[in-house]
């Protein structure tokens, strides 16, 4: 079995991992780096649960070998919130809009949507439906997710670049607006 030493940056940290050639990026992230937020819903490239950013582009980590990420910058769901835990506008919007139930599809959606909103800062409803149609959710009927994308786009537009939403205190379990 061929093994390779892989150098890459994951969520801003340099990593050096010894992997088998056949190991997927998703399995390497989950098993070797214990970043288990990247989920596997199909392992054949359809559900989008395994989406991560490789050099800024959203990719399905179940369809990529870990060795293909050699030298890359990878961002997983664990790298989306800022260093002190402040949620991104997309993460806050998911919570605000009931964009998740079981939460299994959620990391893939959030990572995909971060990338989608970077490319389409002011999406129409049609754009949003189209833009997230590569991710499957079995719980929400997509209602809250679509709303969350809209809200996140608004929040991002109203907030200086690279700043997360202001009012996303995680501990606030109180009544919604």
């Amino acid at each position: 079995m061929s093994e390779h030493i892989l150098h890459l940056t994951v969520n801003g940290e340099a990593q050096h991992v010894l992997v088998e050639g056949r190991k997927t990026l998703a399995d390497m992230l989950r098993d070797d780096l214990r970043l288990t937020g990247t989920h596997l819903g199909c392992e054949h490239g359809v559900c989008g649960a395994c989406t991560v950013l490789v050099d800024g582009a959203a990719v399905r980590s179940c369809l990529m070998f870990a060795v293909q990420a050699h030298g890359s910058q990878v961002t997983t769901i664990e790298g989306i919130a800022d260093a002190d835990g402040g949620l991104s506008a997309v993460q806050s919007a998911f919570r605000e809009c009931h964009g998740l139930q079981c939460g299994f599809c959620t990391p893939g959606f959030i990572v995909s949507i971060e990338s989608f909103l970077d490319a389409h800062p002011d999406p129409s409803d049609e754009d949003i439906r189209e833009g997230i149609s590569g991710n499957l959710c079995r719980c929400t009927g997509y209602q809250g997710i679509i709303k969350a994308v809209r809200l996140a786009a608004e929040t991002r537009a109203a907030t200086p670049q690279d700043m997360s939403a202001p009012d996303d205190a995680v501990s606030d379990a109180r009544v919604g607006a």
Binding site: K23, C47, C102, G103, C105, I110, C139, A173
Partner: protein, 788 residues
């Protein structure tokens, strides 16, 4: 009882589950990594039916990293008892086995398990197992038709059962079911209108985004089995594991943290999971099996797959006088629970929100060499699928609008309490109100004009209604759930119960009920479920019972604890407890703002300073309440769908979808709407996209998400809601809501398609309604693949 809107209950409180889940810090079964765990992969049958004539695992054993390969000979004889808490010991059950022995009975049946250092290596091992079969004629509805399967005594799915008929009602397996109804025959012979039609629904599946999976280890030194499982019911897993092995429940510790959906599939442990449990126990090892999507689709349990023939008699005015119904199900080889049939529920719930008059129901379920049936969100929902289509078909046949026909038959408030033709008693349902609200919201009358106008331009618009009563059962272990509640020494509130949330927001909603009733800050409530070491015995989350049954128990436990807090506070404040209030964790004497005591101080008295309390007050601050739920709880809803059919491509677009519902007091409207939306979209998937197909040899053809199509955001409309709130008589006034979206949406959608295709006189009675089927329906019966 009146509707409540308190500080927490009735509010769209944001979920406490979300913070960990949106940041990638959930803990799902696959996220658990115990040291030294061996990974399991299964060798599965590639044929539907046949003898195993050779099974040689030696090449697999030689693979570096393969620890062992187990077959039926290693495991099956050690299985002691195999039955489920929820079903009980005495329910008839088809044969069960951990691994296929001597023969195979469906494509995907597990034959051997490879244990290895990684899943990659385990799959390498599976590849090298040498297995040969002598194929036999598979027993398939796809091949022989339903009657052919039922009558075939030469080819039996389960020779031990002696027949391919799993269950027939009425009959010896339907206690209390009358064998005939002569009064109905008289009605059918004399009624002004008698209409008969058969409705079919195809095989479609739960498909939670997280598949099934389990981690198990046996600690031989402590004689304790540890399990982390993706389950809806940790206590069910505990009991099944203990019984299978022959140890005590208390020796098994089951934990389910975050569970990625279930929809019924995770109600009972899968056969593969039981095989892993047995293997871990026999080997004294830590094992893990994570079902992949291919396994989940072909062997994880199938659903729906049935037809129902209804004959409806009405008088001149369209009043229903009598109904006869016959139901047929293909339940596969190894259904997940009991005999696998949902017929007794289908028959019982079929009258739904209408007076049926004279009634008779019969059914037949057959085993086939296909994947067995599991529960899927409203396992009995064929009653709504068929009844609500029949309402439209009958209306059409007697020349009446479907809305008007429903109006003439729906149960009205002055009829309550209403006893259905099957003996169910409705006390607080409001089907007339939801019907009218849905009709008004959708603009039913205006739509008819719009539709006529659109037709002149060649556009095919259609509208469909569907009403139902959502039942939730409260008998057996499902009717007596317990909530344990205590206030700790620091004043925090700790709640534990046997629920098994897998997306239903139970941590949030039960905390709302507790905080509201007790009078504390919701952030002070620590809620734990999914852990058999701390939770009282429970049946998990399933059957639309969590709000009504666990919610009711949470409310009653909170009342008990509040009373105790007030009794202790009364001693300290030297007041009567009747004069005390507690809000946000502070007890105050009404009308005397200065006289207060905090919950932490009450706790200090309860645990340490109890000597100041009279003997009649027991020290401590903990209570338990196990509720006794009514046998049946009911909510109701009406769905309305507006669709446009493209006459050329056959594509259907859902233009509007709305739901008017009455689930009593809503604990959290945001969560209620979320449950409805998820169910409705599962119905959209089932009617238009999802279809699990076998060929005539029993080979599954839809084994990936490229062939088994789930709806995406691009296919769903914005769902609109109308709420009518009529509290139930149970504590809190909550009613079931979890399954209704999936139960009631198919008929609304199919009715809308039929309505759109009225100009073609199309007979729309089956699903799926994909583009090809729609085009065939438009072309007419001559070209229909359905025609015989």
């Amino acid at each position: 009882m009146t509707a409540v809107a308190g500080r927490y209950v009735g509010q769209s409180v944001k979920r406490r589950e979300d913070a960990r889940l949106v940041t990638g810090h959930g803990r799902f079964v696959e996220d658990v990594a115990w040291p030294g765990t061996l990974h399991v992969a299964f060798l599965r049958s590639p044929i539907a039916r046949g003898r195993i004539v050779n099974l040689d695992v030696s090449a697999a054993l030689a693979v570096p990293g393969v620890h062992s390969v187990l077959t039926a000979a290693d495991l099956n004889e050690h299985a002691r008892e195999w039955w489920q808490n929820m079903i009980g010991k005495d329910a008839p059950m088809p044969p069960k086995r951990l691994l296929a022995e001597h023969d195979v009975r469906f494509v995907g049946e597990a034959i051997a398990m490879v244990l290895a250092t990684s899943r990659y290596v385990a799959e390498d091992g599976v590849e090298l197992i040498d297995v040969d079969f002598e194929a036999e004629t598979p027993v398939l509805v796809e091949r022989a038709g339903f009657e052919g399967v039922a009558a075939d005594d030469a080819n039996l799915v389960h020779p031990e059962w002696g027949s391919n008929v799993a269950q027939a009602l009425p009959g010896p397996m339907g206690p209390g079911m009358p064998l005939d109804n002569p009064a109905l025959e008289a009605v059918l012979a004399s009624a002004a209108h008698v209409v008969t039609e058969t409705f079919t629904q195809h095989r479609y599946l739960c498909v939670p985004m997280e598949s099934q999976g389990i981690n198990v280890r046996w600690d031989r030194h402590r004689e304790r089995l540890e399990i982390v499982s993706a389950t809806q019911s940790p206590h069910e897993v505990r009991s099944c594991a203990a019984r299978l092995i022959g140890i005590n429940d208390s020796q098994v510790h089951v934990v389910a943290d975050d569970v990625g959906g279930g929809f019924g599939q995770k109600m009972f442990p899968a056969t593969e999971e039981l095989a892993v449990i047995m293997a871990a126990y026999r080997l004294g090892a830590a094992l893990r099996w994570i079902e992949d999507r291919n396994e989940n689709l072909i062997a994880g349990g199938h659903a729906r797959n049935e037809d129902l023939t209804m004959t409806v008699a009405t008088d001149e005015s369209g009043k229903i006088l009598g109904v006869r119904a016959h139901h047929r199900e293909d339940i596969g080889a190894f259904p997940a629970y009991a005999v696998g049939s949902s017929a007794s529920s289908v028959g019982m719930y079929l009258p739904g929100p209408y007076g049926f008059g004279e009634y008779f129901f019969s059914s037949e379920a057959v085993f086939t060499n296909t994947c067995g049936r599991v529960a899927y969100r409203g396992p009995w929902m064929m009653e709504s699928v068929a009844r609500e289509q029949m309402m439209d078909v009958t209306a059409l046949a007697i020349g009446m609008d479907p809305l008007e026909f429903r109006r003439r038959n729906v149960v009205t408030p002055d009829q309550l309490p209403f006893t259905t033709s099957t003996g169910l008693v409705y006390e607080t349902v409001t089907p007339q109100a939801t019907l009218e609200q849905a009709a008004e919201m959708v603009g039913y009358d205006a739509f008819r004009a719009e539709q006529a106008e659109a037709r002149t331009h060649g556009r095919l618009l259609g509208i469909g209604l569907s009403s139902y009563i959502e039942p939730s059962v409260g008998f057996g272990i499902m009717g007596a759930e317990q909530v344990d509640l205590r206030i700790d020494y620091d004043g925090s509130v700790v709640a534990t119960t046997g629920s098994g949330s897998h997306g239903q927001s139970v941590e949030t909603t039960l905390s709302q009920v507790i905080a509201e009733t007790l009078g504390v800050d919701i952030d002070k409530v620590v809620f734990t479920q999914g852990d058999t070491a701390v939770a009282p015995f429970g049946s998990g989350t399933g059957g639309s019972r969590t709000a009504a049954v666990y919610g009711g128990a949470a409310r009653e436990a909170s009342v008990l604890l509040r009373n105790k807090v007030l009794a202790i506070a009364a001693e300290v404040l030297e007041a009567s407890s009747d004069d005390l209030d507690m809000d946000l964790g502070v007890v105050a004497v009404r009308g005397n703002p200065g006289a207060t005591i905090s919950l932490a101080d009450v706790a200090a008295v309860a645990y340490a300073g109890y000597t100041i309390l009279p003997e009649s007050i027991e020290p401590g601050l903990d209570v338990s309440f196990r509720i006794r739920a009514p046998m049946f709880m009911f909510s109701n809803a009406t769905h309305a769908a507006v669709v446009e059919v493209d006459p050329v491509t056959g594509a259907v677009k859902v233009l509007r979808y709305l739901v008017s519902e009455d689930c009593g007091n809503m604990i959290n409207p945001m969560v209620v709407e979320g449950q409805i939306a998820g169910g409705v979209v599962q119905g959209i998937g089932g009617v238009f996209y999802e279809n699990f197909v076998y060929d005539a040899d029993g080979n599954p053809l839809t084994t990936t998400f490229l062939d088994y199509l789930l709806p995406t955001a691009a296919e769903v409309p914005t769902i609109e809601y109308g709420h009518i709130v009529t509290p139930s008589p149970t504590p809190g006034g909550f009613k079931p809501i979890g399954e209704g979206g999936a139960i009631n949406s198919p008929a609304a959608l199919i009715n809308a398609v039929r309505d759109a295709l009225t100009p073609f006189g199309a007979r729309v009675v089956s699903q799926p309604l994909g583009p090809q089927q729609i085009v065939d329906l438009i072309k007419g019966p001559a070209s229909s693949a359905e025609s015989i």
